[in-house]
Symmetry: C2
Amino acid sequence: MRPFSKVFERLKSAGLRPTRQRLALGKLLFENGDRHLTAEKLHTEALNEEIRVSLATVYNTLHQFTEAGLLREIVVDSSRSYFDTNTTNHHHFFIEETGDLHDIPADQVNLSDLPPAPEGREIKRVDIVVRV
Amino acid sequence: MRPFSKVFERLKSAGLRPTRQRLALGKLLFENGDRHLTAEKLHTEALNEEIRVSLATVYNTLHQFTEAGLLREIVVDSSRSYFDTNTTNHHHFFIEETGDLHDIPADQVNLSDLPPAPEGREIKRVDIVVRV
DNA sequence: GTGTTTGCAAAGTGTTTGCAATTTA
DNA sequence: TAAATTGCAAACACTTTGCAAACAC
């Protein structure tokens, strides 16, 4: 494994030790364009690439990456968690039949006139899910 | 139990037999304004009102009501299902800390310029969740 | 070496299911 | 009485956790 790959640097600057598992999962996640993955899917993908990693580590890693701001968790299905490698402001098409997600760039929707947040709260995020 | 309550009629016209459990759950759901409930919360509420009903029946009932169009399922939390007694087009504030939902009437937001659905699909629903 | 990370297996949580007993029409 | 519904307990799917062994620095 090249010691100074993009992913290596990315982990270091996020304060995460670039372990074998994190590097391998990071490469799958970040070197293949924008991706939307469940833990199970990422685990399967890793095993297919001969990367030995346990499902528990995949879960831990996804959460650590999310906390570090490298991933974003998307809620579209009440029985599964999706993680999105695109952490910028954007929205989603959710294809219910297949469980696939497609990005909708924030500048392709026009949302305005949102009422103010309930007393004493502030808006953390606005998620638009278009079910198709 | 009054034989011709609103709920009784509502169940009948939805093609659901007005059993003791469905009537009792229906009253809790529909005679207290707009509500957002999880199965667990509704079950607890029922037991507090001395309504003997099993959690399995609460789940079955929520799904039957949803299929019949009396409820709508809301996805905001990847570990719990919420059911909303307001089945008209509207959106939500989600208070992450407490797990509470508040309605945002559809006419209080302005959403336009949505890109077209992916090839061969049509938009079933647009959900806006404002996390606060 | 020391503290962090990993893998495993076990436990946890919310939800669904099979089936006998009960209820409704 | 026939068909639908219920309750229970077991099964399920996904996720988290405790802890000893392995690894990174």
